[in-house]
Amino acid sequence: MGKVINIQPVTRIEGHARIAIHLDDNGNVNDAFLHIMSLRGFEKFIEGRPAEEVPRIVNRICGICPWMHHLASNKAVDGCFDVIPTPTGHKLREMCQIMAHINDKILHFFFLAAPDFVLGPDSDYSVRNVIGIVKEAPDLAARVVKMRQLGQMMLERFAGKAIHPVAGVVGGFAKPMTEEERKGLLEDTRTLLDFALFSMDYARNSVFPKYEDIIAKLGTITTGFLGTVDEMGSLQLYDGDLRLMKADGTMTDFPVSAYDQYLSEHVESWTYGKMPYAKCWGEGFSMDLDTPKGVYRANTLARINVADQISTPHAQEELEVFREKFGRPAQGTLLYHWARLIELVYVCERTIELLEQDDITGADIRAMVEPKAGRGIGAVEAPRGTLIHDYTTDENGCIIKANMIVGTTHNIAPMNMSVKEAAVSLIHDGVYDEGLLNKVEMAVRAYDP
């Protein structure tokens, strides 16, 4: 009997996970697992709730991306009550969602992931964190904290709450944007765009070149990808069709409403996390590293891979540089970080675009709504992947059935594969140290679970 290396908790991620690396008698990796250790069961406890209340209940699924759940849920309730939000209502929702992506990406890159790169994967664990960065690079840290704060405060100022928002409502939005608010948000977003461009340059020139080997190899696996695109095939985060890409680059587009015909979820007895797979490929499910079946990935790298182009100029330039260097689809797991920064540029540009549209300050923010029986399926691209909420209501407009596939879930199987790939290539003959185990965690952190 060999031993089990127990990395618990997996840190600098959102949630409860454990990595278990099983070694054989010679100290080589037999198998490795990422166990998801907690589950709350929102599908059950929104049963019986009036559907219009649900967007302010399910936001508590995730404290990092509450806007995503809030808005996917609002879209699902729109469907249940058969209402189309007003154009301004949609725009205000999209603006908040896109703006929430800004903070999320700053948080993940600088607070959660950067310690591995700025201080190094092998640096002592007691300093390998954002507090270590504050001490090592105080100017950078001060700027990062300030920018993230700016983004959060913009949302709070306009929408009341940045965490666990309430301003999105079935039929549209609860408050209009005044001209004064528009001007303030626009000015602040331009500051954030400057910071996004700085971050991209900083990472491309000062961070990634130091870690080319890790970026190419660590936890790298070969899978398909899932994201959202518009009718031109451009990257979309708020609305559009879903696009599944196979590892060979062939693509299938389908409407969100048909998600259950394309995707299924596999369950293993050793983790609370489900493992969605592409049922439509007709090959079943397998996490075998050499011949995976049905496995696709979501989140930044997936969206960057499935999009034909990005509609905003700076982000499109960055996409071209990325594609020139890594091809399409790019499979390197650590490239999630690079793709995340390209999206950071896009979301700043897109927020400005939305704020510059005249009708964003329109007064017609909410359509007439009548609770009724129906079914609604709403989706958005959350930072961590395609987020789907599917509700059915009774004649009182209360929930009788719900199904949700949340962003991180799509990457549960890929994360398991990346953990195994990293562990197998790094650990030989029982030789490992703390820095090396941290590299295994880095393969998980790239997915920002």
């Binding site: 290396i5 250790m37 508590r60 509450p66 504050v134």
Partner: protein, 314 residues
């Protein structure tokens, strides 16, 4: 010596941890006085040693312990007991820790039903509920003080960053923190005109009436507009900054749903709200889903299992 802080999350969403980060530049200043020895969202301290070969779950000693989330499985209990053992002062952070929070809605059915439902959705392959390696669920969701003694409650979903800083600073300075004790209503600037003609509350499917170009002080109280607003039975503290301005949902022109928990620690937001409605001449039966008035505070045995007969709505 710097004050040591340990932070943990149990049956939670990470919103409390994001609220800690939302203290922003105040956090940078605080870092001169405190030393975070354990906080999984930010630092890499591991339960079983950095090489993953320890036998017992271990968290370092700390002067201050912060804990978010309720208690819903065996691992939560293990982590919570270790936190209690190692922290001199233990603070329950957010309503999940103080009163069960939103996940305590599952107490209408119990944890097992919640898991069964999740693993039998239409897109899920036929399976049984995972039961290897993963921690076994408890029967339902508990507040932290149902399992260990807690020294202080810091409310809010999420907690107000200004309040987090106030509590930590007060503890460092050795004084009592100023934690709001009034209700959301008591701190709400909207206009109340006294008992009006409202006899029923309506669902929030149409926006409140107000002039968006005028300040919040000129909007009429949402309860007086006939919207269910839980301001009367919810503890204050959500207003942005250090409590200036309007309660946060009200500032979005949306009624309160009680996310800071009851005004008194042992209050029952559902019963208190029914009383508040009755004393305003509003028919409590017009509330479509009474049980969800306890949506943020269902632990301590308040949110009880539904009768076996299937019901919807109330």
């Amino acid at each position: 010596m710097a004050i040591r802080i340990a932070e943990e999350w149990l049956h939670s969403c990470s919103g409390c941890e994001i609220a800690i980060l939302n203290t922003g530049e105040a956090l940078l200043e605080l870092l001169n006085k405190v030393n975070f020895v354990h906080i999984p969202i930010l630092i890499d301290h591991k339960y079983y040693g950095q090489l993953g070969d320890g036998e017992e779950l271990t968290i370092p000693e700390a002067e201050i312990g912060l804990i978010s989330g309720g208690v819903a499985n065996e691992e939560h209990i293990e982590v919570l007991l270790e936190m209690r053992k190692k922290c001199k002062v233990l603070i329950a952070l957010g309503p999940c820790a103080t009163h069960g929070g939103l996940p305590s809605l599952i107490n209408l059915w119990g944890m097992e039903e919640g898991l069964k439902e999740y693993y039998s959705t239409p897109t899920t392959d036929i399976c049984t509920v995972p039961d290897e390696i993963v921690p076994r669920p408890l029967d339902h969701v508990y507040a932290v003080d149902e399992k260990v003694e807690v020294d202080m409650l810091l409310p809010g979903c999420p907690p107000n960053p200004a309040l987090i800083i106030e509590v930590l600073t007060a503890l460092i300075e050795g004084r009592d923190p100023a934690i709001p004790a009034k209700s959301v209503c008591d701190t709400c600037p909207t206009q109340r005109e006294g008992k009006g003609g409202v006899t029923k509350v309506r669902r929030f499917v149409q926006n409140a009436q107000y002039d968006p170009d005028k300040p919040i002080e000129e909007m009429r109280c949402l309860l007086e507009q006939g919207l269910l607003c839980m301001g009367p039975v919810t503890v204050a503290g959500c207003a942005s900054g250090a409590g200036r301005g309007a309660p946060s949902c009200i500032s979005a022109r949306v009624p309160c749903r009680g996310c800071f928990g009851p005004v008194r620690r042992e209050g029952n937001q559902m019963l208190d709200m029914m009383n508040a409605l009755a004393s305003n001449g509003i028919d409590y039966k017009s509330v479509v889903d009474r049980r969800s008035l306890l949506r943020f505070s269902g632990s301590h045995g308040l949110q009880r299992k539904l009768p076996v007969r299937k019901t919807t709505g109330e």
